[in-house]
């Protein structure tokens, strides 16, 4: 019998695709849902890590394709700046590209070193539920401390030019804070969006920055672990993983499209309230279980 059924693969893949761009922690939901449904699937099992590789790679590919034109401009900007050995003041693409590089390095570094110990330490559903509450409180705090409220017309004009006004220190700060998402229950996109909002970005610009920042880190994490999916650990999981990846790709597409429109006029507040409510309910369920 396969460790993960095709149905479970589809459900977990769809969940990953929704929860990765939404600021509600895909890892936390991936830990809690199997427990809630009584599935014998555990976050630290080798086969489940192999399964996660497929869904993460699918999510990263969809994010890359959705912002492909932006990435082409960003890569050209990076190349221009390397050729000229300077980031010209009016070169938004180059500046944005290096802000993404500077934001990715600390998260990647911490992830490479601490991913395994943190995941082992906080892999229990009860811990994920508790940290989901923390994530909700963080989202509400970001909204409370934001520098400016959403305004009509925030989404008009050049979003990249506004994002590129972030300073290097702010980019490093947001990038480093992403590492908190290694703890199941804390959302990477939530932390990134919150950081952007604290530094004066609109919700939509912060969401766009979060999606751009997520692509290399999710993609690299997936590609680094591809051998686990293609090797013996992936035996018996590759079929469900493929189904899960397709479902994750589909729901990631829908989720990103939805969120970019949602944040034109809305805030992080509903997600904060959801995280606190879901975290508290799950904590009670797990305690009674």
């Amino acid at each position: 019998m396969d460790p993960i059924s095709y149905f479970q693969g589809a459900v977990l893949g769809a969940l990953q695709g929704i929860a990765e761009p939404f600021p509600i922690s895909s890892l936390g939901h991936g830990v809690m849902l199997p427990r809630l449904l009584g599935w014998d699937i555990h976050q630290n099992d080798d086969y489940f890590l192999a399964f996660l590789v497929a869904t993460h790679v699918a999510t990263a590919i969809v994010l890359l394709l959705l912002f492909l034109d932006d990435w082409k401009r960003i890569v050209r900007g990076l190349w221009r700046s390397l050729r000229d050995r300077e980031i010209k003041p009016d070169d938004t693409d180059a500046r944005l590209g290096w802000l993404l590089v500077v934001g990715t390095i600390p998260a990647g570094a911490v992830g490479l070193l601490l991913e395994h110990p943190l995941r082992s330490l906080f892999a229990s559903p009860a811990s994920a539920a508790a940290f989901l509450v923390v994530n909700g409180i963080l989202l509400l705090t970001f909204e409370r401390l934001r520098r400016r409220p959403p305004r009509p017309g925030d989404y008009l004009g050049d979003s990249d030019a506004r994002i590129a006004k972030l300073s290097w220190r702010q980019a490093v700060g947001v990038g480093t804070a992403q590492a908190a998402a290694l703890v199941p229950g804390i959302s990477r996109s939530g932390i990134t969006m919150g950081g952007g909002i604290l530094f004066g970005l609109s919700n939509e610009d912060a969401a766009r920055y979060a999606f751009l920042l997520a692509t290399p880190i999710i993609g690299a994490a997936g590609v680094l672990k591809l051998p686990e999916l293609l090797g013996s650990t992936g035996d018996g999981v590759r079929g469900p993983a493929l189904v899960g990846a397709l479902c994750a790709a589909f729901t990631t597409y829908l989720a990103v499209k939805f969120l970019l429109r949602f944040f034109e006029t809305n805030r992080l507040t509903p997600f904060g309230v959801y995280c606190i409510a879901a975290g508290l309910i799950c904590t009670v369920i797990f305690a009674l279980d």
Partner: protein
Amino acid sequence: MAKNRRLIPWAIAAGAILIVIAIIYLAESAGSLPSFFPGHEAGSSHHHIKHGLLAFILGIGCFVFAWFQSGHSTARSG
């Protein structure tokens, strides 16, 4: 980005050291690493690929920093 040419040799030196550290991590098992290296574990045959990858990326980062510092000076806030 403010340019400071005095940082160039330091960035190159740090980059070179990090690349050497990366090669050691990738080539040697945990048991063969110098004892002051993080991840050293006597008798272990495990390779710390992630440590090596991290040192490599940071080394490249130092070289890129040095490359930009060696370019023309242009005033830019941030």
